[in-house]
Symmetry: C2
Subunit: 701 residues, 2 copies
């Protein structure tokens, strides 16, 4: 299917800018005016009667080759070249399967590309459509008939979460939704925030995403096999609410406040939609878009460039239940919905402590109108414990500094689950990408007294199926320049010999990666991946400057290599992928993940077998959780934390945190517990409050 030729627009209104006098930075997310302008230009391609359903209107970043001279000029204070602004747009003709992809040049107000995409290219879901689907489904006679069979208590409120349909190759060319159904606690049906995931129902309507009709009503298996039982009277188990008003709250937790009497140590300079963040020798540009949420550009330390672009690029959550319809549960939360679209509005004093700066963003709605997103990123500092310490054992003099950290955080809600995504920087030139998984397990009904090896019963009648979370972080390095390589170190014992007679010797050797491909950790060899600039040598030891990549090992996708899961999640089978940089190759599961077929992501790019030695390259770093639910993960799971560290290796000439001021009481203002609470000790037993004399620092009488 060949896309229509690019179309020029004439006579449309010029793009609107809130600050028409200033040119946006080439990496700045689209402004509200730019979004509106892009939508108008697309609208103008069609007769006024055609209703368009916009899915994405986002910055189409300029080619790196044109941005690098811009950034170099910016760094040196020279006049910056003027770069044209482009928007990437995709949209349906509403209530059709006609998905279009367009590139709009905003500067010249022209649509430079507009094509109808082939079938099996499906756009992500959006909130408007999901809410509409729920309403239609619940009003549908076939769904109502199925609900009636369950003989729920009078007044029970039924809830429906439309899921992405997934792919299995069986009648799945049309864009559809598989809906999971639950009920609120029937004894408290007015509670709009009831944890309905604790009360799953065995009905699962399938709906067309095109015209929102109910295609069929699936009944799900609830036993140990794949038999489908006839719907009948539902056992109503007790609720399991997570809201605080349903708990007997602990009363012995005292406040702990992060106080920054002189304010934060970072500065954020905002111009339009772009924010330059500077802190402790770090400098970066913080952007935000619908798909990836936060995007960090042009990260440098002490003026030395480190990374051109870093963002969470995709995740895949495949489930272990092989039975229909559950076998298709395999979410790509970024590509199927969008991390930015699902970002929480972060609240002061709830999601972060200390002196907080929030960033707002603007995305687009399905009409192509700007969608303001408030407080989608919080920026704050935190204490990371001791940063380094040494005591001279002869004199007893200690030198100690604390490790201050800068956090750039966003939180997304994907129906039941939450992901807290943070980029954490410290004063030793290190940065950490962190994901905390929390929220509510995706549940399904299970018959009383049963257990199955692909899930855990987390509440009476509730099965939480095992699943994997596989995250892919896209790292576009620029370590002291564009020509980088990825190498790996391995430590191996020296053979016993005259040189190593006692068998203690071992060596570290470095292997460069020359060809694009997927590569894996090997903890037993201490295999360590590093991004290196072979052309820049450390002035003291002559070794090439590098940053190491330290992700935790994980179990790769458990889905069969022949499965759709495996074909679609192209990043899910290796710890890292190294590929040659190509403009606009950003998503390792492909641009369109919804009901995708594979063949458009990072495994395919790696198969180009390109040279990646001393090239402009991109690294995709994967982290994963094989989530075998515990009952302790319900009703809301304690955070499960994953961290990938990036640390300098022979990049500086010493510990970059040597110049951090010492950790001292006049700065930190700590308190002795004993000095705070002057309570009499019980006779014969000295309580914490009374043992002060021996500490020599406080007295309490």
């Amino acid at each position: 299917m060949s896309p229509p030729a690019a179309t020029e627009i004439n006579g449309s209104s010029p793009p609107i800018r809130s600050k028409p006098s200033s040119t946006p930075h080439p990496l700045s997310p689209l402004s509200a005016a730019e979004i509106q302008s892009a939508a108008s230009l697309i609208h103008a391609l069609f007769p006024a009667t055609v209703d368009l359903h916009f899915k994405t209107i986002t910055l189409h970043e300029p080619p790196k080759a044109s941005v690098l001279p811009f950034l170099a000029a910016e760094r040196s204070g020279d006049p910056t070249p003027s770069l044209p602004r482009h928007a990437f747009v995709n949209y349906y003709i509403r209530n059709t399967n006609r998905l279009h992809e367009a590139i709009v040049e905003l500067s010249s107000a022209s649509v430079v590309q507009n094509k109808l995409l082939p079938k099996n290219y499906h756009a992500p879901a959006d909130s408007e459509e999901l809410i509409d689907l729920e309403k239609i489904a619940l009003a549908d006679p076939s769904v109502q008939a199925a609900i009636a069979k369950l003989q729920l208590p009078e007044g029970t409120v039924v809830v429906l979460d439309p899921w992405i349909y997934g792919s299995d190759g069986v009648d799945d060319d049309e864009r559809m939704h598989q809906c999971l159904m639950y009920m609120r606690d029937p004894s408290n049906s007015e509670e709009v925030d009831s944890n309905y995931y604790a009360l799953p129902l065995p009905i699962s309507p399938v709906m067309s995403a095109v015209d929102h009709r109910v295609v069929r009503v699936d009944v799900v298996p609830t036993g140990r096999d794949n038999a489908i039982k006839e719907l009948g009277k539902t056992t109503v188990y007790p609720a399991n609410e997570y809201l605080p008003e349903y708990q007997t709250l602990r009363t012995d937790l005292k406040p702990l406040q992060m106080v920054q009497p002189e304010g934060a140590s970072f500065t954020v300079t905002e111009a339009g939609e772009t924010s330059v963040l500077e802190w402790q020798k770090w400098r970066m540009r913080v952007g935000f878009n619908m798909r990836e949420g936060p995007v960090l550009h042009d990260i440098s330390y002490e003026g030395r460039p480190l990374f051109y672009r870093v963002a969470l690029a995709e995740m895949n959550v495949p489930y272990a239940d092989p039975r229909s319809p559950f076998h298709r549960k395999s979410a790509f939360d970024l590509g199927d919905v969008g991390a930015g679209l699902m970002a929480n509005n972060l609240k002061l004093g709830c999601d972060c402590l200390g002196s907080i700066h929030y960033l707002n963003s603007v995305l687009s709605d399905t009409k192509g109108k700007p969608l303001p997103m408030e407080n989608v990123i919080c920026i704050h500092e935190q204490d990371g414990g001791i940063g380094w310490k040494h005591t001279n054992f002869r004199t007893g003099r200690a030198a100690v500094v604390r490790q201050r950290q800068l956090v750039v955080q966003t939180i997304m809600t994907v129906a039941n689950y939450e992901y807290i995504v943070a980029f954490i920087f410290n004063q030793a030139g290190e940065f950490t990408f962190e994901v905390r998984a929390t929220g509510i397990l995706s549940t399904q009904p299970i018959d009383e007294g049963l257990s199955v090896p692909w899930g855990t019963v987390v509440h009476p009648g509730v099965l939480a199926v095992h699943h994997q979370h596989i995250f892919s972080l896209r790292v576009d390095p620029h370590l002291d320049g564009q020509s980088n390589r990825v190498v790996y170190d391995e430590a191996s014992p020296m053979p016993k010999s005259d040189f190593n007679p006692h068998g203690n010797g071992y060596e570290v050797h470095t292997t460069p990666i020359t060809q694009s491909g997927g590569y894996d950790l090997d903890p037993l060899r201490n295999r360590l991946f590093k991004i290196q600039n072979a052309g820049v040598k450390n002035p003291i030891n002559g070794l090439p400057v590098a940053y190491k990549i330290v992700p935790p090992p994980f179990q790769f996708t458990l889905s069969d290599p022949s499965s759709f899961n495996h074909k679609r999640a192209e990043f899910s089978d290796h710890n890292i992928y190294v590929v040659k940089y190509v403009d606009h190759e950003l998503y390792p599961g492909g641009q369109y993940t919804n009901q995708s077929r594979g063949g458009t992501g990072v495994r395919s790019w790696a198969n180009r077998k390109e040279n990646v030695l001393d090239e402009d390259l991109v690294v995709y770093v994967q982290m994963g959780i094989n989530h075998v639910p515990r009952i302790e993960d319900f009703p809301v799971m304690p955070v499960e934390t994953l961290q990938c560290h990036f640390k300098p290796v022979n990049f500086f000439t010493k510990n970059p945190a040597m110049d951090v001021p010492p950790s001292e009481q006049r700065f930190n203002q700590s308190t002795l517990v004993s000095a705070q609470h002057c309570q009499p000790g019980v006779e014969g037993v000295v309580t914490a409050e009374g043992t002060v004399e021996t500490n020599g620092s406080a007295c309490c009488n």
Copy 2:
């Protein structure tokens, strides 16, 4: 060599107690009076003219079989049985190789066991002896002659660190020290806290630990091979100081204080040397001894026992340089010196933030006198970020709690290195053992311009050799009772079949460990070790209650299986060891690690091939760093952090942190950066300080 028979002491003075009316808790560390009493009883075994050199006087814990009924009675409020108090003592007849080991019963003032240990059993080093050795070595004519050959600038101060000698089977039966030599910056020789590790010298005296004489003066290789060059004029490279007064300190770091206006949420009840710590449903007894530093006993949650005893039990630090004398560098920092003896005196506002409670301890000196150790443990709370969160995407209502953590921390200085050891508890029933490695790399001289595959040049003329840090945490579980087992889960794909036609299915199966032995992680199978009580089932899902053990994988010892390193570090070759509980088997590298020969540690115990299924068992969990130095690790390395997590698995009936009060602004008192700093924005550029309207929460004009 058969030890002398146990000797009864008559007529010695009764043990002294500071609080004679109260009986110490059976798990309470020895008091000063008990230490004095034990020493007196040992002294009384010998004529008054015999000078004894005490190495250890510590609590000899009562047999578990007698402590368990005591703890049960204590828990239920019943009268507790009276248990005799014992001290474990080892000592030399001063300046001999005659090492004795004794057990003293304090209650009856009797020495119940006293034996001379076989040769090749050597006691640890102690600070007094190390300081004495340095003095003697520097005054020794042969050492002075070697120094003279180096032709150091006039006034240069030479420093000598006596190291443990290590084992290689070559003339190493006598207890000795290998001394590493350095100089202070010759241009600033008055600086007593100069970083002499940046200026290593090629001389290495060997000294007898018996009579402190210099046995020989080794010259160390400084090239690429093992050739020893004749000593000659030393090149003096620039210094590399770590003290703050030698740095140009950053000036843009603003204070960040942890304020707890109502005090800490924990309580410590102290009686004599024992401290009961209670916090957020956790309760434990915090002790401290010379060898292990902090020891946690009787850890319970909501009254349910979890662990009988947890402590860092040993570590091994073998180095990669195969050349003499460096091949013997293989430190056992706990067994060779003692984590408690090396504990830092922690300072308010320097080593921890917030409301701090310090614990003091009392150890013993070489005369057998009490050695007060102040502020060796700090107890404090910290904020661990978001603990759990869920937002109802339909209503936008968020439920969020923060994760408060309780930290029990100690810091030890082992000559050049520092280890920050922390036990961290949270409100979700989880506990984490954390080690942060920091301090200064052990260095040696290297000729200019060279590089070697077993080390990194971190400063001109300074080689930091690769080395491993292998830590062993001893975990004595008591999960809802004494009969526990260790099992491991593995996830594996289901074969494709009619039941799993699309190839997404996977299962988790559990394998119990039946026999004592070493067992390993396998991230590619998601192998997960759990401590289980098979006799106690979760009331909701019927699964046995368990805690999972989640340590990071690491590269096992690289030393040849035939090497002394391998034989001695018996814990260094597996992620975990599971053995049957035996009273007083505490140290996985053996009771006496100094110049040890192996055969007395956990590998040997495991080889008893005992049943560990539903038994009283002990788990040794290993964590490791293969430290391939970066130049960024010098002069003081940024913390390298290792964590092992212990988390409940079907132990509770829901997330135990559901009852944590919600994270709210009135509790957390966070601040908008914009509300703190009212500075005018630059025209056309809105700074962080001015972007307040869109946050809706503050205004700044």
